[in-house]
Amino acid sequence: MASLDDLKKRITSVKSTQKITKAMKMVAAAKLKRAQDSAEKGRPYSEKMNNIILNLSSGISDKEAAPKLLSGSGKEQVHLCVVLTSDRGLCGGFNANIIKKAKSYFAKLNKEGKELKIITVGSKGNDQLKRVYGNKIIENISFKNSKNANYFDAEKVGKIVIEKFEKEEFDICTIFYNQFKNVITQIPQAQQIIPLNTKSDDQNNSEDNYEFEPDEDEILSNLLPKNISTQIFKAMLENSASEQGARMSAMDNATRNAGEMVDKLTIEYNRSRQAAITKELIEIISGAESL
Protein backbone atom coordinates (compact mmCIF):
# COMPACT_ATOMS: atom_id res chain seq x y z
CA MET A 1 0.00 0.00 0.00
CA ALA A 2 1.16 3.49 -0.79
CA SER A 3 2.49 5.43 2.13
CA LEU A 4 0.51 8.24 3.71
CA ASP A 5 2.78 10.82 2.21
CA ASP A 6 2.34 9.48 -1.30
CA LEU A 7 -1.41 9.47 -0.94
CA LYS A 8 -1.39 13.03 0.29
CA LYS A 9 0.65 14.11 -2.68
CA ARG A 10 -1.67 12.39 -5.08
CA ILE A 11 -4.70 14.02 -3.54
CA THR A 12 -3.19 17.47 -3.92
CA SER A 13 -2.21 16.80 -7.50
CA VAL A 14 -5.65 15.52 -8.46
CA LYS A 15 -7.19 18.51 -6.73
CA SER A 16 -5.11 20.96 -8.71
CA THR A 17 -5.95 19.13 -11.94
CA GLN A 18 -9.58 19.46 -11.00
CA LYS A 19 -9.11 23.18 -10.53
CA ILE A 20 -7.68 23.47 -14.02
CA THR A 21 -10.43 21.48 -15.67
CA LYS A 22 -13.02 23.45 -13.78
CA ALA A 23 -11.52 26.72 -14.98
CA MET A 24 -11.38 25.40 -18.54
CA LYS A 25 -14.99 24.44 -18.32
CA MET A 26 -15.95 27.93 -17.22
CA VAL A 27 -13.95 29.51 -19.99
CA ALA A 28 -15.47 27.16 -22.54
CA ALA A 29 -18.95 27.96 -21.26
CA ALA A 30 -18.38 31.67 -21.68
CA LYS A 31 -16.88 31.21 -25.12
CA LEU A 32 -19.65 28.85 -26.11
CA LYS A 33 -22.20 31.53 -25.48
CA ARG A 34 -20.38 33.88 -27.79
CA ALA A 35 -19.74 31.28 -30.46
CA GLN A 36 -23.35 30.21 -30.39
CA ASP A 37 -24.45 33.79 -30.73
CA SER A 38 -22.30 34.42 -33.72
CA ALA A 39 -23.35 31.13 -35.30
CA GLU A 40 -26.94 32.23 -34.98
CA LYS A 41 -26.25 35.72 -36.23
CA GLY A 42 -24.36 34.36 -39.19
CA ARG A 43 -27.24 32.24 -40.33
CA PRO A 44 -29.33 34.88 -42.17
CA TYR A 45 -26.45 35.68 -44.47
CA SER A 46 -25.85 32.15 -45.66
CA GLU A 47 -29.56 31.45 -45.89
CA LYS A 48 -30.21 34.50 -48.02
CA MET A 49 -27.21 33.72 -50.15
CA ASN A 50 -28.51 30.23 -50.69
CA ASN A 51 -31.96 31.50 -51.57
CA ILE A 52 -30.67 33.91 -54.15
CA ILE A 53 -28.53 31.22 -55.74
CA LEU A 54 -31.44 28.83 -55.84
CA ASN A 55 -33.57 31.47 -57.51
CA LEU A 56 -30.85 32.20 -59.98
CA SER A 57 -30.01 28.64 -60.84
CA SER A 58 -33.63 27.69 -61.34
CA GLY A 59 -33.88 30.60 -63.73
CA ILE A 60 -30.98 29.45 -65.85
CA SER A 61 -32.33 27.82 -68.93
CA ASP A 62 -29.16 26.57 -70.48
CA LYS A 63 -27.60 24.19 -68.00
CA GLU A 64 -24.65 23.56 -70.25
CA ALA A 65 -23.54 27.13 -70.19
CA ALA A 66 -23.86 27.44 -66.43
CA PRO A 67 -20.69 28.35 -64.56
CA LYS A 68 -18.54 25.41 -63.68
CA LEU A 69 -18.76 26.07 -59.98
CA LEU A 70 -22.43 25.27 -60.26
CA SER A 71 -22.52 22.46 -62.75
CA GLY A 72 -19.17 20.87 -61.98
CA SER A 73 -16.35 20.06 -64.31
CA GLY A 74 -18.15 17.09 -65.77
CA LYS A 75 -15.85 14.61 -64.12
CA GLU A 76 -15.78 12.96 -60.75
CA GLN A 77 -12.24 11.73 -60.63
CA VAL A 78 -10.37 13.99 -58.24
CA HIS A 79 -11.89 14.78 -54.89
CA LEU A 80 -10.78 17.62 -52.69
CA CYS A 81 -11.67 17.32 -49.05
CA VAL A 82 -11.45 20.30 -46.73
CA VAL A 83 -11.31 19.06 -43.17
CA LEU A 84 -12.09 21.72 -40.60
CA THR A 85 -10.84 21.00 -37.11
CA SER A 86 -9.75 22.99 -34.08
CA ASP A 87 -6.32 24.30 -33.20
CA ARG A 88 -6.52 23.26 -29.60
CA GLY A 89 -7.03 19.92 -27.96
CA LEU A 90 -8.81 18.89 -24.79
CA CYS A 91 -12.22 19.02 -26.35
CA GLY A 92 -13.40 15.47 -26.05
CA GLY A 93 -14.31 13.66 -29.21
CA PHE A 94 -14.67 16.83 -31.24
CA ASN A 95 -11.71 16.38 -33.57
CA ALA A 96 -11.83 12.61 -33.48
CA ASN A 97 -15.41 12.64 -34.76
CA ILE A 98 -14.61 14.79 -37.76
CA ILE A 99 -11.54 12.74 -38.55
CA LYS A 100 -13.49 9.52 -38.28
CA LYS A 101 -16.12 10.80 -40.65
CA ALA A 102 -13.49 12.06 -43.06
CA LYS A 103 -11.50 8.82 -42.92
CA SER A 104 -14.49 6.67 -43.72
CA TYR A 105 -15.18 8.93 -46.69
CA PHE A 106 -11.55 8.68 -47.79
CA ALA A 107 -11.72 4.90 -47.57
CA LYS A 108 -14.82 4.91 -49.74
CA LEU A 109 -13.08 7.08 -52.32
CA ASN A 110 -10.08 4.79 -52.27
CA LYS A 111 -12.23 1.78 -52.93
CA GLU A 112 -13.83 3.50 -55.89
CA GLY A 113 -10.41 4.32 -57.26
CA LYS A 114 -10.82 8.07 -57.05
CA GLU A 115 -7.98 10.43 -56.48
CA LEU A 116 -7.89 12.23 -53.18
CA LYS A 117 -6.54 15.60 -52.12
CA ILE A 118 -6.84 17.03 -48.66
CA ILE A 119 -6.75 20.52 -47.23
CA THR A 120 -6.72 20.66 -43.47
CA VAL A 121 -7.84 23.71 -41.58
CA GLY A 122 -6.74 23.66 -37.95
CA SER A 123 -3.63 21.98 -36.66
CA LYS A 124 -5.29 19.12 -34.80
CA GLY A 125 -6.76 17.64 -37.93
CA ASN A 126 -3.43 17.91 -39.67
CA ASP A 127 -1.69 16.12 -36.81
CA GLN A 128 -4.08 13.22 -36.98
CA LEU A 129 -4.36 12.90 -40.72
CA LYS A 130 -0.74 13.27 -41.70
CA ARG A 131 0.15 9.88 -40.26
CA VAL A 132 -1.96 7.97 -42.75
CA TYR A 133 -2.74 10.48 -45.46
CA GLY A 134 0.35 12.65 -45.21
CA ASN A 135 1.12 12.49 -48.91
CA LYS A 136 -2.43 13.52 -49.83
CA ILE A 137 -2.45 16.72 -47.79
CA ILE A 138 -1.78 19.52 -50.21
CA GLU A 139 -2.31 22.41 -47.86
CA ASN A 140 -2.53 23.02 -44.16
CA ILE A 141 -4.10 26.19 -42.94
CA SER A 142 -4.23 27.27 -39.36
CA PHE A 143 -5.84 30.31 -37.79
CA LYS A 144 -4.23 30.05 -34.40
CA ASN A 145 -3.91 33.78 -34.15
CA SER A 146 -7.48 34.77 -34.79
CA LYS A 147 -9.59 34.68 -31.69
CA ASN A 148 -12.95 34.02 -33.24
CA ALA A 149 -13.96 32.58 -36.54
CA ASN A 150 -14.11 35.53 -38.90
CA TYR A 151 -15.11 35.99 -42.46
CA PHE A 152 -11.72 37.00 -43.77
CA ASP A 153 -10.22 33.72 -42.70
CA ALA A 154 -13.03 31.89 -44.43
CA GLU A 155 -12.46 33.96 -47.52
CA LYS A 156 -8.81 32.96 -47.56
CA VAL A 157 -9.74 29.29 -47.55
CA GLY A 158 -12.40 29.94 -50.15
CA LYS A 159 -9.92 31.65 -52.43
CA ILE A 160 -7.51 28.74 -52.22
CA VAL A 161 -10.27 26.30 -53.07
CA ILE A 162 -11.50 28.33 -56.02
CA GLU A 163 -8.01 28.88 -57.35
CA LYS A 164 -7.37 25.18 -57.34
CA PHE A 165 -10.69 24.51 -59.00
CA GLU A 166 -9.93 26.96 -61.76
CA LYS A 167 -6.61 25.25 -62.34
CA GLU A 168 -8.64 22.04 -62.64
CA GLU A 169 -6.79 20.40 -59.82
CA PHE A 170 -9.95 18.72 -58.60
CA ASP A 171 -13.53 18.02 -59.66
CA ILE A 172 -15.51 17.72 -56.48
CA CYS A 173 -15.02 19.53 -53.20
CA THR A 174 -16.43 18.42 -49.89
CA ILE A 175 -16.04 20.10 -46.52
CA PHE A 176 -16.03 18.29 -43.20
CA TYR A 177 -17.10 19.98 -40.00
CA ASN A 178 -19.12 19.46 -36.87
CA GLN A 179 -22.59 20.82 -36.85
CA PHE A 180 -23.62 22.24 -33.52
CA LYS A 181 -26.79 20.69 -32.23
CA ASN A 182 -26.44 21.24 -28.52
CA VAL A 183 -23.74 21.20 -25.90
CA ILE A 184 -23.45 17.42 -25.77
CA THR A 185 -24.29 16.56 -29.36
CA GLN A 186 -22.29 17.62 -32.37
CA ILE A 187 -22.92 15.94 -35.65
CA PRO A 188 -20.01 15.52 -38.02
CA GLN A 189 -21.05 16.68 -41.46
CA ALA A 190 -19.81 16.17 -44.96
CA GLN A 191 -21.08 18.88 -47.26
CA GLN A 192 -20.38 19.09 -50.93
CA ILE A 193 -19.74 22.64 -52.07
CA ILE A 194 -18.41 22.14 -55.60
CA PRO A 195 -20.42 21.51 -57.68
CA LEU A 196 -23.16 23.09 -55.69
CA ASN A 197 -26.05 20.94 -54.69
CA THR A 198 -29.03 22.86 -55.96
CA LYS A 199 -31.64 20.26 -55.31
CA SER A 200 -33.74 22.26 -52.91
CA ASP A 201 -36.65 21.01 -50.88
CA ASP A 202 -39.01 22.00 -53.64
CA GLN A 203 -39.26 25.65 -52.95
CA ASN A 204 -42.26 27.15 -54.55
CA ASN A 205 -40.77 30.51 -55.41
CA SER A 206 -39.36 29.38 -58.70
CA GLU A 207 -41.94 31.26 -60.69
CA ASP A 208 -40.72 34.57 -59.36
CA ASN A 209 -39.68 36.73 -62.19
CA TYR A 210 -36.57 38.59 -61.34
CA GLU A 211 -34.95 41.31 -63.24
CA PHE A 212 -31.22 40.90 -63.40
CA GLU A 213 -28.67 43.56 -63.72
CA PRO A 214 -26.25 42.62 -65.23
CA ASP A 215 -27.45 39.29 -66.64
CA GLU A 216 -27.84 36.03 -64.76
CA ASP A 217 -24.61 34.46 -65.85
CA GLU A 218 -22.52 37.33 -64.69
CA ILE A 219 -24.27 37.54 -61.36
CA LEU A 220 -23.92 33.82 -60.87
CA SER A 221 -20.27 33.76 -61.69
CA ASN A 222 -19.76 36.54 -59.17
CA LEU A 223 -21.95 35.02 -56.56
CA LEU A 224 -20.74 31.45 -56.58
CA PRO A 225 -17.22 32.13 -55.33
CA LYS A 226 -18.72 34.24 -52.58
CA ASN A 227 -21.05 31.44 -51.71
CA ILE A 228 -18.15 29.08 -51.24
CA SER A 229 -16.53 31.41 -48.76
CA THR A 230 -19.87 31.81 -47.07
CA GLN A 231 -20.38 28.07 -46.76
CA ILE A 232 -16.91 27.67 -45.34
CA PHE A 233 -17.56 30.51 -42.95
CA LYS A 234 -20.76 28.88 -41.83
CA ALA A 235 -18.90 25.65 -41.26
CA MET A 236 -16.27 27.52 -39.26
CA LEU A 237 -18.90 29.13 -37.08
CA GLU A 238 -20.66 25.84 -36.46
CA ASN A 239 -17.30 24.29 -35.74
CA SER A 240 -16.27 26.86 -33.19
CA ALA A 241 -19.57 26.55 -31.37
CA SER A 242 -19.21 22.78 -31.43
CA GLU A 243 -15.64 22.95 -30.23
CA GLN A 244 -16.55 24.99 -27.19
CA GLY A 245 -19.54 22.80 -26.49
CA ALA A 246 -17.48 19.65 -26.72
CA ARG A 247 -14.77 21.14 -24.56
CA MET A 248 -17.28 22.22 -22.00
CA SER A 249 -18.81 18.79 -21.61
CA ALA A 250 -15.41 17.09 -21.72
CA MET A 251 -14.11 19.35 -19.00
CA ASP A 252 -17.27 18.89 -17.00
CA ASN A 253 -16.70 15.14 -17.11
CA ALA A 254 -13.08 15.55 -16.20
CA THR A 255 -13.98 17.70 -13.22
CA ARG A 256 -16.46 15.14 -12.04
CA ASN A 257 -14.01 12.28 -12.47
CA ALA A 258 -11.38 14.19 -10.56
CA GLY A 259 -13.90 14.75 -7.76
CA GLU A 260 -14.62 11.03 -7.58
CA MET A 261 -10.94 10.27 -7.54
CA VAL A 262 -10.31 12.71 -4.72
CA ASP A 263 -13.09 11.06 -2.69
CA LYS A 264 -11.65 7.63 -3.27
CA LEU A 265 -8.15 8.70 -2.43
CA THR A 266 -9.32 10.51 0.70
CA ILE A 267 -11.05 7.37 1.95
CA GLU A 268 -7.95 5.35 1.26
CA TYR A 269 -5.82 7.97 2.99
CA ASN A 270 -8.05 7.97 6.08
CA ARG A 271 -8.11 4.22 6.16
CA SER A 272 -4.39 3.82 6.07
CA ARG A 273 -4.00 6.56 8.67
CA GLN A 274 -6.46 4.69 10.88
CA ALA A 275 -4.61 1.44 10.24
CA ALA A 276 -1.35 3.03 11.25
CA ILE A 277 -2.87 4.35 14.47
CA THR A 278 -4.43 1.00 15.28
CA LYS A 279 -1.15 -0.70 14.61
CA GLU A 280 0.67 1.61 16.97
CA LEU A 281 -1.96 1.12 19.65
CA ILE A 282 -1.70 -2.65 19.37
CA GLU A 283 2.02 -2.39 19.66
CA ILE A 284 1.76 -0.26 22.80
CA ILE A 285 -0.85 -2.47 24.41
CA SER A 286 0.92 -5.71 23.64
CA GLY A 287 4.13 -4.10 24.85
CA ALA A 288 2.45 -3.14 28.12
CA GLU A 289 0.93 -6.61 28.54
CA SER A 290 4.20 -8.38 28.13
CA LEU A 291 5.69 -6.49 31.06
Binding site: P44, Y45, E211, E213, I219, N222, L223, K226, T230
Partner: protein
Protein backbone atom coordinates in the same frame (compact mmCIF):
# COMPACT_ATOMS: atom_id res chain seq x y z
CA UNK B 1 -51.08 54.95 -48.76
CA UNK B 2 -47.71 54.58 -47.28
CA UNK B 3 -44.69 54.42 -49.48
CA UNK B 4 -42.56 52.54 -47.07
CA UNK B 5 -40.81 49.26 -47.49
CA UNK B 6 -38.47 47.07 -45.53
CA UNK B 7 -34.73 46.91 -45.72
CA UNK B 8 -32.40 44.29 -44.30
CA UNK B 9 -28.67 44.51 -44.42
CA UNK B 10 -26.74 41.43 -43.40
CA UNK B 11 -23.05 40.76 -43.29
CA UNK B 12 -21.50 37.38 -42.58
CA UNK B 13 -21.13 38.09 -38.89
CA UNK B 14 -24.58 39.37 -38.11
CA UNK B 15 -27.72 41.05 -39.24
CA UNK B 16 -26.38 44.55 -39.59
CA UNK B 17 -29.49 46.63 -39.98
CA UNK B 18 -33.19 46.15 -40.31
CA UNK B 19 -35.69 48.91 -40.92
CA UNK B 20 -39.33 49.00 -41.82
CA UNK B 21 -39.92 52.65 -42.57
CA UNK B 22 -37.75 53.20 -45.63
CA UNK B 23 -38.91 55.45 -48.43
CA UNK B 24 -36.03 55.30 -50.80
CA UNK B 25 -32.71 53.55 -51.07
CA UNK B 26 -29.95 54.45 -53.47
CA UNK B 27 -27.43 51.67 -54.02
CA UNK B 28 -24.21 51.67 -56.04
CA UNK B 29 -25.18 48.86 -58.40
CA UNK B 30 -22.53 47.44 -60.66
CA UNK B 31 -23.78 49.21 -63.73
CA UNK B 32 -24.52 52.51 -62.08
CA UNK B 33 -26.36 53.96 -59.17
CA UNK B 34 -29.85 52.68 -58.71
CA UNK B 35 -32.68 54.16 -56.70
CA UNK B 36 -35.25 51.79 -55.29
CA UNK B 37 -38.74 52.83 -54.27
CA UNK B 38 -41.69 50.86 -53.07
CA UNK B 39 -43.19 48.32 -55.49
CA UNK B 40 -40.03 48.09 -57.51
CA UNK B 41 -39.96 45.03 -59.72
CA UNK B 42 -38.17 42.00 -58.25
CA UNK B 43 -34.54 42.44 -58.96
CA UNK B 44 -31.19 40.88 -58.20
CA UNK B 45 -28.07 42.87 -58.75
CA UNK B 46 -24.69 43.29 -57.25
CA UNK B 47 -22.82 46.22 -55.90
CA UNK B 48 -19.57 47.96 -56.53
CA UNK B 49 -17.76 49.94 -53.83
CA UNK B 50 -19.79 53.01 -53.00
CA UNK B 51 -22.30 54.62 -50.72
CA UNK B 52 -25.71 53.28 -49.84
CA UNK B 53 -28.13 56.05 -48.98
CA UNK B 54 -31.22 55.13 -47.04
CA UNK B 55 -34.05 57.65 -46.82
CA UNK B 56 -36.24 56.60 -43.98
CA UNK B 57 -38.90 58.28 -41.91
CA UNK B 58 -36.47 58.32 -39.04
CA UNK B 59 -33.91 60.19 -41.10
CA UNK B 60 -31.27 59.70 -43.71
CA UNK B 61 -28.42 57.29 -43.27
CA UNK B 62 -25.36 56.61 -45.36
CA UNK B 63 -23.22 53.51 -45.45
CA UNK B 64 -20.00 52.69 -47.17
CA UNK B 65 -19.90 49.22 -48.78
CA UNK B 66 -17.16 47.43 -50.66
CA UNK B 67 -19.24 44.80 -52.37
CA UNK B 68 -22.54 43.05 -52.05
CA UNK B 69 -25.60 41.55 -53.60
CA UNK B 70 -29.03 43.06 -53.42
CA UNK B 71 -32.30 41.34 -53.79
CA UNK B 72 -35.63 43.14 -53.91
CA UNK B 73 -38.74 41.09 -53.58
CA UNK B 74 -42.20 41.68 -52.13
CA UNK B 75 -41.18 45.10 -50.91
CA UNK B 76 -38.25 43.77 -48.97
CA UNK B 77 -34.80 44.84 -49.92
CA UNK B 78 -32.06 42.48 -48.78
CA UNK B 79 -28.49 43.58 -49.04
CA UNK B 80 -25.74 41.03 -48.48
CA UNK B 81 -22.35 42.53 -48.07
CA UNK B 82 -19.07 41.41 -46.62
CA UNK B 83 -17.86 44.86 -45.64
CA UNK B 84 -20.04 47.71 -44.51
CA UNK B 85 -19.46 50.82 -42.40
CA UNK B 86 -21.78 53.51 -41.19
CA UNK B 87 -20.43 56.82 -42.45
CA UNK B 88 -21.22 58.42 -39.13
CA UNK B 89 -19.01 56.01 -37.21
CA UNK B 90 -16.18 55.96 -39.65
CA UNK B 91 -12.99 57.40 -38.23
CA UNK B 92 -10.52 59.51 -40.06
CA UNK B 93 -7.66 57.07 -39.48
CA UNK B 94 -9.68 54.10 -40.65
CA UNK B 95 -10.69 56.00 -43.72
CA UNK B 96 -7.12 56.86 -44.60
CA UNK B 97 -6.07 53.28 -44.06
CA UNK B 98 -8.80 52.00 -46.37
CA UNK B 99 -7.86 54.60 -48.93
CA UNK B 100 -4.22 53.61 -48.78
CA UNK B 101 -5.05 49.94 -49.26
CA UNK B 102 -7.35 50.69 -52.15
CA UNK B 103 -4.78 52.89 -53.85
CA UNK B 104 -2.12 50.26 -53.45
CA UNK B 105 -4.39 47.68 -54.98
CA UNK B 106 -5.29 49.93 -57.86
CA UNK B 107 -1.63 50.58 -58.60
CA UNK B 108 -0.67 46.94 -58.78
CA UNK B 109 0.52 46.29 -62.31
CA UNK B 110 -0.81 42.79 -62.85
CA UNK B 111 -4.45 43.07 -61.82
CA UNK B 112 -7.29 42.47 -64.21
CA UNK B 113 -9.36 45.28 -65.67
CA UNK B 114 -12.33 44.44 -63.56
CA UNK B 115 -10.36 44.45 -60.33
CA UNK B 116 -8.70 47.67 -61.34
CA UNK B 117 -12.08 49.22 -61.98
CA UNK B 118 -13.33 48.11 -58.58
CA UNK B 119 -10.25 49.41 -56.83
CA UNK B 120 -10.57 52.74 -58.61
CA UNK B 121 -14.19 52.96 -57.54
CA UNK B 122 -13.09 52.33 -54.00
CA UNK B 123 -10.52 55.10 -54.15
CA UNK B 124 -12.98 57.52 -55.65
CA UNK B 125 -15.67 56.80 -53.08
CA UNK B 126 -13.28 57.04 -50.18
CA UNK B 127 -11.95 60.34 -51.46
CA UNK B 128 -15.44 61.71 -51.75
CA UNK B 129 -16.09 60.88 -48.12
CA UNK B 130 -13.03 62.71 -47.03
Amino acid sequence: MSDEFKIEIVNPEKSFLSKEDVNEVVVPAFEGEMGILKDHISIISFLKPGIITIQAKSGEEKYYVEDGIIEFKNNTLSILTSYILNLKDIEKNKLLELLKNAEEESNKPEISDQLKYLADQKVETLKSIN
